[in-house]
């Protein structure tokens, strides 16, 4: 499965805002659904999402079942030097997802 898809601009001028967009594949099971046999599907949602810019935390989300399935986040970070944005998310079951995007600052 494509765990995630990311979009950042091709290049950003220093000190300007980089628009970061990420779409993550995750069912975000609320725990309130039942399957075809009538059994409750256990809760398993992403509980934390973090974005680091060349290792420094710049944005994070404490997530719960109130965020829709296949979460989408769009946010802005300040362009410093060129480098990498690292994304990490962890769900209730402890599964960890990661992704990266290169940022070019001119």
């Amino acid at each position: 499965m494509a765990d995630s898809r990311i979009n950042v601009p091709a290049a950003t001028r220093r000190d300007e805002a980089i628009e970061v967009r990420i779409s993550i594949r995750h069912a975000m099971e609320t725990g309130y659904r039942t399957d075809e046999g009538g059994k409750p599907v256990p809760r398993n949602v992403i509980r934390s999402f973090a974005c680091r810019y060349n290792g420094d935390p710049v944005f994070a989300v404490r997530v719960s079942s109130g965020i829709a399935a296949n979460p989408y986040f769009r946010f802005f970070v300040t362009a410093r030097e060129s480098g990498t944005l690292d994304f990490e998310w962890i769900d209730d079951a402890g599964a960890r997802g990661t992704a990266q995007a290169a940022v070019k600052v001119v």
């Binding site: 499965m1 494509a2 995630s4 898809r5 979009n7 967009r21 779409s23 594949r25 069912a27 975000m28 829709a68 399935a69 296949n70 989408y72 769009r74």
Partner: protein, 293 residues
């Protein structure tokens, strides 16, 4: 009257049956009657043939066709129009990976190469009659047929992420192209069955598809606006499902909604309906991946 005209008229429209005069003329076996009838019949049949081919007895003429996106709210429209925000693309990427995956022996790419070239326009023509299997196949069945016959692999279950991924990836290669499924020749019987199903009442609510989607589209059903019921945006990410799903799933969902028995996924009746719907939506552009509420 040439027998080929007779067969094609019966297939394409029901209205040749209506005229008693025509029936009598067709049954005429007297040489004199045929010659006399021929003088009248010629222009009449020519007109019927032209109008049958062009009008096709459509409940919704081609110029009033509207995609379901026009009956959707701004939430759905904004999600479908943004390729990053559109969750369907998560499946498109999965499909692209699978297309090139040869761990099972051979990949799809090993025969079909670059899908953006070889698969361009293909999904817009589905469902389609497949000579090798002698039946009309929808896209999912076609993919599985290839997997089993040619790749010697197991078929993918309907609504599995893998099969949805492949159908989403392939549908993307026909994005924006006009639906153009064929209903002539060997596809005719499936088309007729699908058309009959569409017009029959079903379920505890005793409703036919036509009652909502031909006769009452645009009107309110509780807080929703009834669409024309086209399948030009499938597989679609349906917000209610919180996942991508096929047109067959959507048809089954509608049947559940009118309290009718749902044929199992993959049932031939569902393919018959898909074919009828594809003809009915002829000319509408394929939206891929679709987003619906």
């Amino acid at each position: 009257m040439p027998s080929c005209w007779r067969r094609s008229l019966r297939q394409r429209s029901g209205f040749i049956k209506a005229s008693g005069l025509t029936r009598r003329l067709l049954r005429a076996n007297s040489h004199l009657q045929i010659r006399f009838a021929g003088a009248l019949l010629g222009p009449v049949v020519a007109l019927l043939l032209i109008s049958a081919v062009q009008a096709q007895q459509r409940a919704l003429p081609l110029n009033v066709l509207r995609s379901g996106i026009e009956f959707s709210g701004s939430d759905v429209r904004s999600m479908q129009s943004d390729d990053l925000a559109n969750p369907g693309f998560l499946w498109v990427e999965r499909g692209e990976k699978l297309w090139n995956d040869s761990t099972g022996g051979s990949s799809c790419a090993s025969c079909h190469g670059d899908a953006s070239a070889s698969m361009r326009g293909v999904v817009a023509r589905y469902p389609a009659f497949d000579a090798a299997s002698g039946t009309v196949l929808d896209l999912e069945a076609r993919i599985n047929d290839c997997r089993v016959r040619r790749q010697k692999q197991n078929p993918l279950p309907r609504e599995s992420d893998d099969l949805l991924g492949l159908t989403a990836y392939l549908a993307l290669q026909s994005r924006g192209m006009a639906l153009a499924a064929r209903i002539d020749g060997p596809a005719g019987a499936a088309f007729d069955r699908g058309r009959a199903f569409y017009s029959q009442r079903h379920g505890q609510m005793n409703l036919s598809c036509a009652q909502c989607h031909d006769q009452n589209w645009g009107k309110r059903l509780y807080a929703e606006t009834l669409s024309q019921g086209h399948g030009n945006a499938f597989p679609a990410y349906k917000l209610e499902w919180q996942t991508l799903g096929s047109l067959q799933r959507r048809i089954r969902a509608c049947l559940f909604g009118i309290r009718a028995e749902m044929p199992p996924p993959g049932a031939s009746e569902l393919t018959d309906i898909e074919l009828f719907l594809a003809w009915r939506a002829q000319g509408l552009p394929l939206e891929a991946p679709g987003v619906r509420r």
